[in-house]
Symmetry: C2
Subunit: 320 residues, 2 copies
Amino acid sequence: MAPLTLAVAVEDTRPDLSAIAAGADVAIRYATPAELPDAIDGADALLVWAFTAGGVADAWPRAAALRWMHVSSAGVDRVLTPQVVASDVVVTNVRGVLDDAIAEYVLGLVLAFAKDLPGTLRRQGERRWEHRPTERLRGARALVVGPGAIGRAIGSLLGGVGMGVDAVARSRRDGDATFAAVHGQADLGAVIGDYHYVIVAAPLTDGTRGMLDAGAIAAMAPDARLINVARGPIVDEEALTAALLRGDIAGAALDVFHDEPLPAEHPLWRCPNVIISPHMAGDFVGWRDSLLGVFLDNFARFRSGRPLLNVVRKELGFVV
Amino acid sequence: MAPLTLAVAVEDTRPDLSAIAAGADVAIRYATPAELPDAIDGADALLVWAFTAGGVADAWPRAAALRWMHVSSAGVDRVLTPQVVASDVVVTNVRGVLDDAIAEYVLGLVLAFAKDLPGTLRRQGERRWEHRPTERLRGARALVVGPGAIGRAIGSLLGGVGMGVDAVARSRRDGDATFAAVHGQADLGAVIGDYHYVIVAAPLTDGTRGMLDAGAIAAMAPDARLINVARGPIVDEEALTAALLRGDIAGAALDVFHDEPLPAEHPLWRCPNVIISPHMAGDFVGWRDSLLGVFLDNFARFRSGRPLLNVVRKELGFVV
């Protein structure tokens, strides 16, 4: 086989690519964001290992030789610039690896709200014994925004514990195997008020940016909670903050934000009834090894000319 | 029908018994613990509405006319004195009403540990963004101590989300529908080390008191957590406290205690990796109405001479 050059965009950690380096005629160039323009020059393939995908857009003008870019995350919004979309470069991601862990995380957040675990821990800190009745999952209704692989894993898990689970997709459809009803995105404002939990699991695209806007949040039920494990810009953070401060909705659990890390001065940190976590919903113990496995599998396919897995439909912004 | 006298042991709240009082020749005597001896004298039936069952034991010498005692909780340990067990009084409880809510609560605690929700909330209070990988439920192993109605609901729910769930019963048995394996209590120390979560759901009886003793706790795995939603005295609280302070096990979530409310000076409040809740696992919104419904159903049966539901096998200490 012809020699190959693989650029690897890294920040804090490097993947262990010894399996590749040992066996074949492959040049591997690890590169920080600043080093990436030189590294990408002449490279056949790019592994975006750095979660933030820092430097990819800046390096792109020198990616003339690039044929394949693999992104080690489920969302590819950070790399899909207009130039990347317009190019012939094939983009793949890690679809499937994080789904079940994210679904478990969402169930944990739902139960934290239903059983008021934050309230229990707060009272524990004050050594205060104060009995409160708690909410049942059975019979509670959840709306999953984005019924892709992750949304479907969430729907299955929540449905399995007795919740009623519907979804919002680009367009309405009947007969879904996981969701009792799949509403079209245009109807979001009309249906969102029927749900106790609104769970954002959509990819960030031009079609989903700002989808949970002030109007949608205002249409939520007063006893409803918003959970976002997808991407921050799908939700209007200012409108959400205001709604939480006014008590218009019962709570929010946010794992993703417009700016990450969430700035220390951001009012969301101290809003009432909010759970803030640092973009970790899908990152189970050993997740980096699993992410690496997906890349190595695809790399073997790339080398031998077989079809790649998890090819992103770039004009849509996700794997179909 | 003959006139009846119903004594009702209350503390903070009274049940709404207007459905009884309006329709029939029934004298209802609400009584605080101090008033209970006079109220029980000559009563045909006793409804123990007060959760702590305070005053029942003291009033018992004057319960000569009593034929039936209904306890508005799942556990009947607080009323089953030797005198009550030796008497002809039929004892019933609320078996079934709280099972699913308790199972949900346990799942919430398991997820709180697996996803380190307390750690996330603690960092949130400090506005600290610190990513950590979290544990998966799928593949984690749970041991339910006490496969009665509540234990079985817990087993079903945890199994449904992908955990491997076994049980400990009085004696070993094969072919259980809910649990992959049911160990005998005598083997607890030998098997307890194989589980990530040990969940106490047994009734408090002479056979279970102190069952989770220092030896059983010492045999737990270093990465295991103990969850108790049953009764405090099933667990050796001193041994557990010491194990937590030494870091011998990874955590504990306790909803029940030797002394309730847990005294403010008790070291458990501040042990590391502990979640303390005020005996509320089963108490869902509307639970008192559900508890009342079970009593009213049984009261109608009592009046018309039909068999009562949820009759406690007093020598065992639970409904078979």
